[in-house]
């Protein structure tokens, strides 16, 4: 527990949380490692977990008829998974370990119960995830703009 708390305290995602909220998170966390190729989430399947990625790389992929296409990768310090927050608690993409990965795994089902029971904690965690989702949404918009196809500094006219 102390080791998990120490890890959480060092991560920017949790840095402005109150000590009691970090302890709640640590109580729902466990260290988990996965080998390359492990499928952590599958599109449309129930998910009751989120992960803090500590080492390695995870690809977020959309299944297509022709196979899968990675639209984003996550690395150390990144949070994987927010589908546990809102009904129907189903993943909206695949997540696959590209390399061997080390994570903190959070039991989100239990966390959700804690959030309901302690609205202050629920609000704090929801705010953190809302910020994360906004950040990812903005990144997705930037990606969709295809900004590099329209030039950029240093190349004249």
């Amino acid at each position: 527990m102390n080791e998990l708390l120490a890890i959480i305290e060092q991560e920017p995602f949790f840095e402005d949380m109150a000590p009691e909220h970090r302890r709640l998170l640590a109580a729902c966390a466990a260290k988990r490692s996965y080998t390359a190729g492990t499928r952590l989430m599958r599109d449309h399947e129930p998910t009751e977990t989120f992960w803090l990625l500590r080492e390695g790389q995870v690809a977020l992929e959309s299944p297509l008829r022709e196979g899968r296409v990675a639209f984003q990768t996550l690395g150390p310090g990144d949070i994987l998974g927010w589908s546990w927050l809102l009904p129907p608690y189903r993943a909206s993409y695949d997540a696959r370990a590209v390399t061997d990965i080390h994570t903190l795994h959070f039991d989100a089902g239990v966390l959700r119960e804690r959030m309901e029971a302690d609205p202050a904690f629920g609000y704090v965690l929801m705010k953190h995830f809302a910020a994360l989702i906004v950040q990812r949404l903005q990144a997705a918009r930037l990606q969709a703009l295809d900004i590099y196809s329209h030039g950029g500094p240093g190349h004249g006219t």
Binding site: P12, Q57, A59, V69, A70, F71, Q72, T73, G75, P76, G77, D78, V98, Q135, Q138, A139, L142, Q143, L145, D146, I147, Y148, S149, H150, G151, G152, P153, G154, H155, G156, T157
Partner: protein, 291 residues
């Protein structure tokens, strides 16, 4: 108080010869992507030409194709024997004509112009460089300088985003930087391929991974303006002060000495007061549509 702009180097080409192109010969042409849409020239002065001050990292030269036109091109490297490397993307009439030139051709060069990246200000601090697309070219001399004087800086983090693996420039050098233990190179592409094993996503997500001291870091950002705006937001979110963030702007520079006004943004002339600006100077302009 309004943020101050950077001062042009005292030994820059102003005013002598600032308007008179000098003949420089193309020694070599190197395609930087398979399509040759991006290419680098290494130029040397013709006999009798006094090369003058070497460009500082971030400065640019005006390159003149006789009978075609003149364009501002950033300097992407200085060779050990005084050659200047310019990296260009063929996107307009002049740069497409440049694409056709081969070693031995002579072009006109005047410069260097503009402000440089504030390397001295970064001394003793962490250095974060954020490049998008061909924006890596104006930052490459900073990387060279930082590696030459590696002990002068803390952590050196280079975040580079490209459209796809095939659009990444300086691939050999990226591989060499990745192999070094004293530089943290992070590369991502907006669109991966089946063979791509690196990161996918926008360059700002590489900033979000941290790995630098938020209280003691200087960041230099170069790429499309929308990318620079998002990168600056990410850097601020990571705790950097706006005044520790620098951006390199591009506008339609003609005279390069602040006379003609073609490159004016508000009260700033990009050619004279930039192209490198403290972020607080340019931040208001980023919020003005179609400026």
């Amino acid at each position: 108080m309004a943020p101050e702009t950077l001062q042009p180097r005292a030994d820059s080409a102003l005013p002598e010869q600032a308007m008179a192109p000098q003949p420089w010969r193309i020694h070599s042409v190197r395609p930087d992507v398979a399509s040759n849409e991006v290419f680098s020239w290494t130029l040397y002065p013709e006999p009798g030409v006094e090369p003058g001050a070497m460009p500082a990292p971030g400065q640019f030269n005006m390159l003149y194709l006789f009978g075609v036109g003149e364009v501002p091109i950033s300097v992407s490297a200085i060779t050990a024997d005084g050659g200047i490397v310019h990296t260009t993307r063929a996107v307009g009439s002049v740069t497409r004509a440049m694409q056709e030139l081969r070693p031995g051709a002579v072009v006109g060069l005047r410069g260097p112009f503009g402000t440089a990246w504030p390397l001295e200000q970064a001394r003793g601090r962490d250095l974060v460089l954020v490049a998008g697309g061909i924006g890596l070219a104006p930052l490459r001399p900073v990387i060279h300088a930082a590696l030459e004087r590696r002990a002068d800086f803390g952590r050196v983090v280079v975040c580079y985003g490209a459209r796809s693996p095939g659009d990444m420039i300086f691939r050999d050098e990226l591989d060499a930087w990745a192999a070094r233990g004293d530089l943290d190179l992070r590369v991502t592409v907006d669109r991966g391929t089946a063979a791509w094993r690196g990161d996918v996503g926008v360059v700002t997500q590489l900033i979000d991974r941290g790995g630098f001291d938020r209280r003691n870091t200087v960041a230099m950002v170069c790429g499309p303006e929308v990318m620079m705006r998002f990168a600056a937001s990410s850097l601020e979110r990571r705790g950097l002060k706006p005044e520790d963030i620098y951006v390199s702007m591009e506008r339609n520079m003609r005279c390069a000495v602040g006379f003609c006004g073609h490159c004016q943004i508000g009260a700033q002339f990009v050619c004279r007061d930039g192209p490198v600006f403290p972020y607080p100077v340019m931040e208001p302009a980023f919020r003005i549509r179609e400026l």
